[in-house]
């Protein structure tokens, strides 16, 4: 299969994608009050600090919702690409894909873990599969 497209990157999201290249799933956290936030943004909505850092997460969470986009076909993602919203154990949420599972076997709130798929331009994209014990 061809590589996935490189991600669409904007300035405030660069550290997320750089971490992904290292095989790390990170979330932005406020350097002053420590609150995690996803997706990244330049100001902490709790204490209004603009100082932030990116913290490595466990990469484990649960499936909140999932669908298969069928039309229009997006060949770069393959037939039957499952799009899912994942509630991460640290309390933040990401959109991702589910892999290594048939669509009919996915259930709400099932446990999943992150791994990374190669993309164009040497990027890596965090995706999820059923969690090992």
């Amino acid at each position: 299969m061809n590589l996935r497209p490189a991600p669409w990157i904007e300035r405030d999201g660069i550290p997320f994608w750089e971490a992904a290249k290292r095989g790390e799933l990170v979330a932005q956290s406020c350097k002053d009050c420590g609150v995690l936030r996803s997706p990244p943004r330049p100001m902490c909505p709790d204490c209004h600090s603009v100082a932030n850092e990116f913290r490595v997460l466990s990469g484990r969470g649960t499936v909140y919702t999932w669908v298969i986009p069928r039309y229009p076909p997006i060949p770069a993602y393959g037939e039957g690409n499952i799009v899912a919203v994942i509630n991460l154990d640290e309390g933040v949420r990401v959109v991702s894909n589910l892999r290594e599972i048939e669509y009919d076997d996915v259930t709400a709130d099932m446990r999943v873990e992150v791994f990374f798929e190669d993309a164009e331009q040497d990027y890596k994209i965090p995706v999820f599969r059923p969690a090992t014990a």
Partner: protein, 385 residues
């Protein structure tokens, strides 16, 4: 009484709705605005305000030189795409109530079928103003269309309340029934069965088939908004703006909206509807007819619940029991809605609310005192004078 109750919709106008208008969006805009002014009995020279969507491609400065409008005291635009559509009239009404303008034209014109299609897969940053800031955090995983983004939210609702795509067929059939006698509608005289729905192709499995999606259409829709006092002297019965509201809750997004806690709650519409009831002093039982944004069938369920027309999780039963039918307790999208009339980004449904207040709808409901319109983040209650 809310402050907007001194304001009314005095004119409505639209072009034909089609798959290929054969003319520019500016021409569609100019035509529908002229039609709305004719309907009201006003001239372009009376207009001193204009409002459209941030993502409308036409420009007020272009339209005043087409229509010969002498000058604008008020020019504004509303964000959030279709979710903000009702806000265009709310903000027009606010400007009139504040004395910033006397006659405000609201319009939306689009060649959304022949020149571009919202249903296409997005791959690059959209023009600002649409309010879809989270798109960059969805597209890299192949979540690239409005149908996909809505389905991600709706699937959680459907999972929790046991609603299936077969159930949603009832919504498609309902809308089509309402459009069968509407000559402006894509669904005019075109019967639709549950079987047709179930045979239509998957768009987003297991939520949306083709017949769960609104039309993609070319056309223009305009409104003339002015003071109730002035509207009373014009050609049509005024549709009073009993209430009008907008609600942009933390941490919402116009459509790539995945970071609010509970997908079974439609926080945008709940907060907007609460304001409508507070402004007007009426409640859901005082509304006789509703036009609820139906870009995709399952969103109707959450609209009905957010307005309090039925309890949480019960909307599918509410529809199945016939409440949204023309002879039901709350006839809904009586023109066929965005699914079966056309998709002028929501505003063609607001025009139907005006017709129901005037008493001129094709499927006129008896005894309408109040009509609700919702586009999710914005909405109105219209009332008889």
């Amino acid at each position: 009484m809310g402050i907007l109750d001194r304001v009314a919709i005095a004119g409505i106008g639209n072009t034909e709705f089609s798959r290929d208008s054969g003319r520019s969006e500016t021409q569609l805009a100019a035509e529908c605005i002229k039609s709305a002014l004719d309907d009201a009995g006003l001239a372009p020279a009376d207009v001193d305000g204009m409002v459209t969507f941030t993502i409308d491609n036409t420009e007020d400065v272009d339209l005043i030189r087409n229509l010969g409008i002498p000058g604008l005291r008020y020019a504004s635009r509303i964000p959030h795409g279709g979710a903000g559509s009702g806000g265009s009239v709310v903000h027009a009404a606010g400007a009139i109530a504040a004395g910033l303008a006397d006659v405000v034209v609201v319009w939306r014109a689009m060649n959304e079928r022949s020149e571009y299609r919202f249903g296409s897969a997005n791959a690059a940053k959209p023009a600002p103003g649409g309010g879809a800031v989270n798109m960059q955090w969805a597209v890299p995983w192949g979540a690239a269309t409005p149908a996909c983004w809505q389905s991600m939210v709706s699937h959680r609702y459907m999972t929790e309340f046991g609603v299936t795509n077969r159930d949603l067929a009832e919504i498609a059939v309902l809308h089509r029934k309402h459009s069968l006698n509407n000559p402006n509608a894509f669904g005019y005289q075109k019967e639709l069965t549950v079987e047709d729905h179930q045979n239509s192709r998957w768009i987003i499995e297991p939520v949306l088939r083709l017949l769960d999606c609104c039309q993609e259409s070319d056309g223009g829709q305009a409104f003339v908004v002015t003071s109730l006092e002035r509207a009373r002297d014009l050609r049509q019965k005024p549709a009073r703006i009993t209430a009008g509201a907008q609600w942009v809750p933390y941490p919402t997004d116009a459509i790539t909206n995945f970071y609010f806690e509970d997908f079974t709650e439609m926080a945008t519409t709940q907060g907007m509807a609460r304001q409508l009831y507070e402004q007007s002093g009426i409640g859901p039982a005082d509304i006789q007819v509703a036009m609820l944004y139906d870009h995709f069938s399952p969103i109707l369920l959450q609209h009905l619940e957010a307005f309090g027309f039925c309890a949480k999780g019960e909307a599918m039963d509410f529809i199945r029991d016939g409440n949204c039918a023309l002879d039901g307790a709350l006839p809904t999208n009586t023109h066929g809605g965005l699914m079966s009339e056309a998709y002028i980004h929501g505003l063609n449904s607001l025009a139907e609310a005006v017709r129901q207040i005037r008493g001129t709808a094709i499927n006129q409901i008896e005894g309408v005192e109040h009509a609700a319109f919702s586009s999710g983040m914005t909405g109105l209650i219209l009332g008889k004078d």
